[in-house]
Subunit: 511 residues, 2 copies
Amino acid sequence: MAELPSHIDGYGDVRPFASAFANLEAVRRTASRIRSVPPGQQKVLPDLAAAIDASGLRNGGTISFHHHLRNGDGVLNAVMEAIASRGLRDLRVAASALFPVHAPLVQHIEAGIVSRICASTIYGPVAHSVMAARLAAPALMYTHGGRARCLESGELHIDVAFVGAPTADTYGNVSGVNGRAACGPLGYAIADVQCADCVIAVTDNLVPYPAFPSDITQDYVDFVVPVPSIGDPTQIVSGTTRPTSDPDALRIASLATRVIESSGLLVDGFSFQAGAGGASLAASAYLKQIMMTRRVQGSFASGGITGSIVEMLDAGLFRALFDVQCLDLAAVDSYRRNEAHQAMSASMYANPHNRGCVANQLDAVILGAAEIDCDFNVNVTTAADGSILGGSGGHADIAAGAKLAIITTRLTAGKFPKIVERVGTVTTPGETVDALVTEEGVAVNPRRSDLADRLRAGGIGVRPIGELLERSVQIAGESGSTSLSRPDGPVVAVVEYRDGTVIDVVRSRTA
Amino acid sequence: MAELPSHIDGYGDVRPFASAFANLEAVRRTASRIRSVPPGQQKVLPDLAAAIDASGLRNGGTISFHHHLRNGDGVLNAVMEAIASRGLRDLRVAASALFPVHAPLVQHIEAGIVSRICASTIYGPVAHSVMAARLAAPALMYTHGGRARCLESGELHIDVAFVGAPTADTYGNVSGVNGRAACGPLGYAIADVQCADCVIAVTDNLVPYPAFPSDITQDYVDFVVPVPSIGDPTQIVSGTTRPTSDPDALRIASLATRVIESSGLLVDGFSFQAGAGGASLAASAYLKQIMMTRRVQGSFASGGITGSIVEMLDAGLFRALFDVQCLDLAAVDSYRRNEAHQAMSASMYANPHNRGCVANQLDAVILGAAEIDCDFNVNVTTAADGSILGGSGGHADIAAGAKLAIITTRLTAGKFPKIVERVGTVTTPGETVDALVTEEGVAVNPRRSDLADRLRAGGIGVRPIGELLERSVQIAGESGSTSLSRPDGPVVAVVEYRDGTVIDVVRSRTA
């Protein structure tokens, strides 16, 4: 691990990451504030400005958003515009994730309307603002499970949570499956509505009471605001969720699937999660074939759910899905029509501080990497040049929970090696990673000699990760350094592990 | 209202009831304790004794139960037997309701194993123990919404919650719709599992992970215990839920329906709840005919749900049901097969201290009474002889929430008048009651002259409640006193209104 400062201005004292399962003591869920709604009181307000006024939001407050519409989200920008029009300043934006579509936040940051950012992943222009140290405090980057934990523990207190509601009724029952912008379960918003002082549902499909089925129920919602559009559902498939036809990616996917096959886990009751990257989607397709051939009936698949996982459910290869967020419209349709396609909250998904998250029940997961190092630490937070390119999302969560966490990656990305001596930023600690699969072979974490034995027995060559590192550097055509030197400027982002300890920081380059 | 003591031993200082909507300020939901479950840790324990040991329950602790299996419940007795075998003492039993089947509690009370009782309703032998002052402190009687409020506020802290699970998987996902003892939604257990320090699911249908659909999810459950039987589902139809063929009851039901019809509320969007008494069931049948004839499409019906309400849903007379508890097996079946039959928690149902409960959205409700007085105060807590015969359940909750709260009752029960000058115990304050319907006519609360006008316009004679009182006394053949004198012994039960104020007490008779 990189050396961490003991204190970070704008963050506070640093509780350093110790190990993946060090902080699993009993915890307390925070108290939350509830404004009672008596009979006869209406919840529908005419517009966002009225709702912001009614919420009691003040300068310096914290507002939250969820990213189920991903790069099609129209709620955050509309809310921020209304907030700007109310003259509020110095706000903290606690989003589950930020996308390129949220570029207008940059202007709000420049104008001092937004001074702090927390998110599990940050893609696009806002990441540039963070890197340029345009915020009053370092950005705070969580895992998806860690964000739920942080809300439930009270470490992150939300004054006003905004819920993008594909359908809402006049008393605040919210459905993600009906409406023009249907996006499926609203798993990332659940901890927000449970813990925030005030919850505002923003909808472009206001319907008579009661709306059902409800992903969020009326007892958690203070106000309902109709708007012309909450966003563009066709952009739910965006960012990392496109399939691949690249031969290397397909080779990696096939090899990752063989690793699962040889691991001994692919028996009845098998459970699985794949990221939404191209190799993961391809691996799901291979896995489907193997499970059909071997007549394995899995128990469940989880995660952000894609159409490829839905196909496996529909083929009877899993009995159920646990879905925190649909990653394409085929998944949205499945959630609507199939009872076996279950919603889960981010806390149920991946929070280490509850009575047992779904991640704990996973057998095998396939995850990507921007970089991985000789200790199997994985970076999905920063690019080779040190700039923020995403963040953990559920990466560190499911690596920790699963019996077999497989990282798939090409050896290089352009001129940069992806197997490095030391990752630019640690997102997921190596102790939770079991195997690395590249286009030139597989490496197994030395902690898992049992796995290496199984793979060899399955005819899979297992190479020392050092060899793959060498090949990575060789192909990238670099020598002497396996990655760029770490930036040494001020801390611009703090990377919290799922248990709330600091696992790494992101620094800007000094000018 | 009766005069209340300012302090009650074993209860504390009394915050006296002021008015139905006096305490609707912002509140805080309590913090709760969570034991983190790491990957690999199992939840299934061999038996109840092992689970009680694992829970950390100590002498003096509080344990909770829910009553979805009603008089068929086998969980409470089995748990108490295991607790007795562990040598624990001085426990508080916080049940959502107690039934005759829980008679073995009497021995546990006598033995000092149970020293305190809280419940929304208490039927049967345990009520006799309460009346006989066999407990170390007065019993605490809530409304259903008030119980959820009390749990969420932390006023009632549960050490260990026991969930009777018709189906549970090995990691604690609980379903009420599948299994031998399927009972439908588990609405009364939700606040318990959210607020208790430890949650134990007790099941006679342990299935592989994951069970779905889930009424309670794994992140709320610490342990799962398989037992031979959680109870007898045929006894769900019990107590107050039998239909009637009595001519007086049918006349009352018909008249109550005409009151609704004349109230102006019976238009599209109409919402409705009926108790489970015979007159209520009959009224539902009449209402069904009127709604079909007038082609009214209601929005929802709520409550404990019966087959008669399911028939109205199936006939298209309501778009949805909100169900906290199925009151017969037809309702269980409907919940299983019909998405429009939605579950709700007790808090969502009736808690005055959340962001808007379902009770707030009700148009008309039909409720029973043991007694009603000239101020329209209703007693469903004690019999004419002063002994406990039930308790509020949702009575006071929905009377407060609904636009039109109708009390239906015969004028007499045997030799006792049911219309009295002053009820033996105030369960539901008169300010929340709009009309009284008896076999000899209708009285309207003077606060609701608008309603009286509408009823007269609809051809319904409206009589002063004093006239009905006179008839009641006349028929009962008594004079001089309209009810027995109130017992004047020590307080044996404290009746809390839904907001946590004390609305009345139950006293034993001095020897």
